[in-house]
Structure formats: C-alpha cells, structure tokens
Symmetry: C2
Subunit: 82 residues, 2 copies
Amino acid sequence: MARSKNRPAARSILARNLRRFRAVKAVSQEALADLAGLHRTYLGSVERGERNVSIDNIERLAEALGVTVSELLKEGKNEIPS
Amino acid sequence: MARSKNRPAARSILARNLRRFRAVKAVSQEALADLAGLHRTYLGSVERGERNVSIDNIERLAEALGVTVSELLKEGKNEIPS
C-alpha cells in the first residue's frame, strides 16, 4: 500500500485522456462541454489539470464521450473506442 | 454519445469497489481512512455513494489500497490484486 510517487497524478491522466478522446472523436472542447452540460472554460481548466473535478462531473464527461469513467481515468495508451 | 441510462452511476461503482477492495485486503474503514488521510465518517459516506467525491480524494483512496484510480472505478467483477 505504498504511495506511488512516480505515477502521474489522476488529474493529469484525466486531462490527457480528455484531450485524446476528444481528438479521436473529433469533438471540440466547446461541443464536449455542451454535451456534458458544463461550461467550456471549466472544461478547459479540467483539461489543464487545474481542477479537483468531482466524480459526478467526470461521469458527465465520460458519458458525453461515450466511454466509461474507468476508461477516462486509465493510465497509458488504452484502446480508444471510435 | 448517447447517455447510458442503465449503467450504474459512477458513485455506486466507486462505493462497491471500495468495499470490495477493503474486504479482499482485509482493511477496515478506519484503517483505510487513516491511510488515505481522510476521516472515517467521510469514507463511510463515500462508501454509501452519498458524496460527490473529488478526483484528488479518489486518488488518495486508490493509492492507500494499492490499486489504480481506473481500477477503483471499473464496473463489474474486475481482477482484484491481493
């Protein structure tokens, strides 16, 4: 149960995956924000890892992207459903 | 990008996985709360799905349990590292 110091922080993993899924699905930040019912500037700050985003908002983003919350938080180059 | 109405909410998945990982690892709620630097009553409410828990706190719980954030939010009977 040691704390893993070298693991990228969850915020960074989420930020990178959001940008990656958006790119693959060709969804703009504004379109994703609209789909998820969030503000574009808020999504921008989440994609920069600046926000301690809540599980409910992570779920809204995952559903808007058509992926699971687990996939949205997965480290590494996971499969991206198109 | 349809909203999946039948998918268990992320809060419920997290709650169930926390209880399951704790059981497998034989860690009490109090011990896990201590390890994660959270209050036991707060963890109790997270395990009942009552809290809109933040990504930073999810990460603390995952690290304290020795699993990834993605594993902690994975739906279904995923492999549990012992």
